[in-house]
């Protein structure tokens, strides 16, 4: 399956970006093959508003089934849930570590947004 990790850089060694809507990159990883692709999020990062919503659309369009990130606001959460994407918040470390933790089943999907995400 494909998962998306918010990232501060374009490699697996980059740190997980704690912000969802305004993260620098999404690293989309195929957990079966280990192949990955860095998706630049600069357009949404600079969006006037609704960055979380637009980033969520990007993730859904990439075909990801799960998102690993630091925090996720309510609007992004609603959009992701509608797109049938599971959300894992509070993820830290490098993208590679996050993916390993996910594969090992150490992460737990959130039921709700964890931050007040107005902007």
């Amino acid at each position: 399956m494909k998962i998306a990790v918010t990232s501060e850089g374009s490699t697996l060694e980059a740190a997980v970006d704690p912000r969802f809507g305004r993260c620098k990159y999404f690293i989309v990883v195929d957990t079966d093959t280990g192949a990955f692709e860095a998706v630049d999020n600069v357009q949404n990062l600079n969006a006037a508003q609704g960055a979380g919503i637009q980033s969520a659309e990007t993730v859904v369009n990439q075909g990801a089934e799960a998102v690993l990130t630091g925090h996720c606001g309510p609007k992004a959460f609603r959009t992701l849930s509608t797109g049938e994407v599971k959300i894992y918040v509070g993820v830290e470390g490098t993208v590679r570590e996050a993916v390993e933790a996910f594969k090992a089943g150490k992460l737990q999907a959130s039921e709700n947004a964890d931050v007040e995400g107005h902007w």
């Binding site: 006037a48 107005h118 902007w119």
Partner: protein, 301 residues
């Protein structure tokens, strides 16, 4: 790093003068002026600009007269009355159409429905934002073009850059001069902050507006400290504000007296603590001590 936002609800309560004083009192702070409509902090901090950036708050429509056939579709679809009809001089030719840039909300509906693609829909240049050095520390601030609007986006930009600098330089405090009102810019100034200091006055309107901004801060779950400026204008009301604030579960940061030295400091381009070593300066120092204690979580009262 603790982020402290200074807001007032009602303007003119001395919020910027107090922010300036806090800047002088804080050790190694980073400063952000999010009161972009009435950005005055630079008048006392005299920043030296290091970086200048363009700011675009959104898009704007513009009609290319050559391509416009005068079909009036744009006028019909625009909900904001931003399309102006300019009748042709000869009374027979179709009228011209132009976008009123001040009224245009940048919704893009006219561009979408214009068949000959005569509407250009492009990023508007709304102003500039700056990173500067001052005698107290780094200041991030902005200046908008004439009749441009402050927005959550600009405030977020200024705050985020200031936060980033505070982290890089390992600064203990980020002081933000917040936007007035309870609308979108002020919401953007305070979300996610560690402490909001509301500066108010002992007047019926000051009290009324305090209640509204305090509700807003509560809505976003941010701790609030209330400071009453010009308290001696109406000591009875100043006291009532304190009692009510505490009853609502807000902290009270103290009072500052009415003093003409506040204006004198502005004229001298100094903060009130640099300018005044008397009662006024003392009162402000006390407020700052309490504010830092609250922000650092050392005061749990």
């Amino acid at each position: 790093m603790k982020e402290i936002i200074i807001i007032s609800g009602k303007g003119g309560t001395g919020k910027t003068s107090l922010t300036g004083a806090f800047a002088a009192l804080a050790e190694n702070p980073v400063l952000a002026d999010c009161d972009v409509d009435a950005a005055d902090l630079h008048l006392i901090l005299k920043p030296k600009i290091l970086e200048t950036h363009d700011f675009s708050g959104g898009k704007q429509a513009r009609i290319e007269p050559d391509k416009c056939t005068g079909c009036a579709t744009c006028e019909e679809v625009c909900r904001f009355g931003a399309i102006r009809r300019i009748p042709a001089k000869d009374d027979i030719s179709p009228p011209f159409f132009a976008v009123d840039p001040v009224a245009c909300e940048g919704c893009g509906v006219c561009a979408w429905f214009c068949i000959p693609k005569a509407v250009q829909f492009e990023d508007a240049l709304n102003g500039h934002w700056f990173v500067s050095e001052t005698r107290f520390g780094c200041l991030v601030h902005a200046k908008l073009g004439v009749a441009e609007e402050n927005s959550g986006k600009l405030v977020t930009l200024v705050r985020n850059r200031a936060k980033q600098i505070a982290k890089e330089r390992n600064c203990p405090y980020l002081l933000v001069d917040g936007s007035p009102g309870i609308g979108c810019p002020v919401i953007a100034s305070l979300t996610g902050a560690d402490l909001v200091v509301i500066v108010t006055e002992p007047t019926v309107s000051g009290e009324h507006d305090l209640a509204r901004v305090a509700d807003l801060a509560k809505h976003f779950g941010i701790p609030v400290a209330v400071c009453v400026n010009k308290a001696d204008i109406n000591p009875g009301m100043a006291d009532r504000i304190r009692v009510n604030a505490e009853a609502r579960g807000l902290s009270f940061a103290g009072t500052v007296p009415y003093d003409k030295a506040v204006t004198a400091a502005q004229v001298a381009q100094l903060t009130i603590v640099e300018h005044d070593r008397g009662e006024l300066g003392k009162a402000v120092r006390k407020v700052w001590e309490r504010v830092t204690a609250l922000a650092d979580g050392k005061d749990t009262k």
